[in-house]
Amino acid sequence: MNAGRAPHPKRWIPTYIVLLASLLILAAALALQYLRTGSDSYLVSAAFVAVIAVYTAWSFARLITLKVTPRSLMTLLKCPSCGHEIVRRYREGDMLFSELDACPKCGSKMVAEGIFLKEEKH
């Protein structure tokens, strides 16, 4: 079912990419300033930003390896005459044991044998 489903966590991927890129640029700029001026405060700041960048990269790696398997509501139709089975997406009004679509093999009315959530295969 799509309604009421929690938002997909991978929607944060663009935010992570922007954040990580900004942190790396900042760390590089601070390191460059240290090399130019030799001031320790730049080195400390660069190290601090680098630590935050490492943590962000680690969180990002965890996020992209996260496996979420969405499920869709399906209706299993079975033909009472020839036994042919079809699994199709649930349509509003589908009711268990009611006669729905015509059988593609013999033309008889197919009966809804099951309504269930099925994992989507990509």
Binding site: A3, G4, L96
Partner: protein, 363 residues
């Protein structure tokens, strides 16, 4: 030791002392924020369930003022079931059954009066939606009460207990909330596994007769050759669980069954597989225990063996739309019950009870 060193030592001791208090205050503040976030999730779930219940009732109450309907539902979700006293436990199950049936009847008549255009099975689904909003409201109010008390007394221990329990409570809240969509569309949930097994048996073998001897509960005598097989389930496709004890008593008045088989959803442990079917002995019925007690009483009195067929699933699966794994478990459950029935001697009789909410499962 000179004066400066003494002053520094004193300042260090004072700083350490102050820090110990500051750390505790910070910890309290952190846990308060955490608990507030969890409470926000539960409050949002309650609001969504309440909104869904109101919207659904309004579909069938065009002739009534929407404000009036909304106010009545707000009142309904505040009602409480008060369990009978256990000071004298003798006859407590009978008393509990009485209290529950009064609550059930009242809620049904209230919802039916608010939704005059709804069919009886639609009224059953509306009742469940109101019931979901009611249980989420109760959970939210109870947790909010503990949170406010803990905050008022700045009790770190109370807050820590709340914070530790919250992830488990959130899991249950999400499970209950998952049921809203299923009841709105009237499709089977995981808990409907028992009634679905019963419905498949009825459809496979056909019936000699099908009666409703008890309110919202059907008894079907299967056209099963050589044996008298009675199948009991909630009426459906509305969301109700039926009254199995009274229906079993009705059958036992007419025949002496060789066995009573209850088919129900069972909670699985982490690491187990959803849809796995296991055997058991005894009565597989959850809830208040009233119907379990009733069937145990009948079985003990007449020395009838009690078998159970359990279909495993998580709590979230039990309350949300049925998953494919549970559906496969239902099919396997039908085969297991058939095996049990086949092992009975010819001429004997048996009762199969499909336990669970029968939403979306017609007889």
């Amino acid at each position: 030791m000179n004066g400066d060193t003494t002053t520094n030592m004193l300042l260090l001791i004072i700083a350490l002392f102050a820090l110990s208090f500051l750390m505790q205050e910070l910890q309290i503040y952190r846990i308060i924020t955490e608990v507030e976030n969890y409470l926000g999730i539960i409050r949002a779930a309650r609001e969504r369930a309440l909104h869904a219940a109101k919207e659904q009732v309004r579909k069938y109450s065009k002739s009534l003022d929407p404000e009036y309907v909304s106010r009545r539902i707000d009142k309904l979700i505040e009602t409480r079931i008060i369990a009978p006293t256990s000071l004298d436990p003798f006859g407590i199950v009978r008393k509990l059954k009485h209290v529950l049936s009064v609550g059930e009847r009242t809620l049904e008549s209230e919802v039916a009066s608010l939704a005059p255009a709804a069919s009886p099975y639609e009224v059953q689904n509306l009742i469940v939606l109101v019931d979901i909003a009611r249980s989420l409201n109760e959970v939210y109010k109870l947790l909010n009460h503990y949170y406010l008390v803990a905050r008022r007394f700045k009790s770190l221990w109370l807050l820590m207990q709340l914070s530790a329990a919250m992830p488990f409570i959130i899991e249950e809240v999400r499970a209950v909330e998952g049921a809203v969509e299923a009841f709105r569309r009237s499709i089977p949930i995981g808990d409907s596994a028992g009634p679905l097994v019963a419905a498949f048996l009825i459809r496979k073998y056909g019936v000699q007769y099908l009666v409703e001897p008890v309110k919202d509960t059907i008894v079907a005598k299967l056209a099963y050759s050589g044996k008298d097989i009675y199948v009991v389930k909630g009426k459906g496709p509305g969301g109700n669980t039926g009254h199995y004890d009274d229906a079993v008593a009705w059958v036992v008045q007419r025949t002496k069954p060789a066995v009573i088989i209850t088919v129900d959803a069972a909670l699985r442990y982490e690491g187990e597989v959803s849809g796995e079917v296991v055997h058991g002995f005894g009565v597989a019925i959850g809830g208040t225990g009233v119907e379990k007690y009733g069937i145990e009483e009948i079985a003990t009195k007449h020395s009838i063996p009690l078998y159970a067929v359990l279909i495993k699933m998580t709590e979230v699966e039990a309350l949300s739309a049925m998953t494919e794994e549970v559906y496969r478990g239902v099919k396997e459950g039908v085969a297991v019950v058939e095996e049990l029935l086949a092992s009975l001697p010819d001429g004997s009789s048996a009762i199969v009870v499909g336990v669970g909410n029968t939403v979306g499962v017609p007889p």
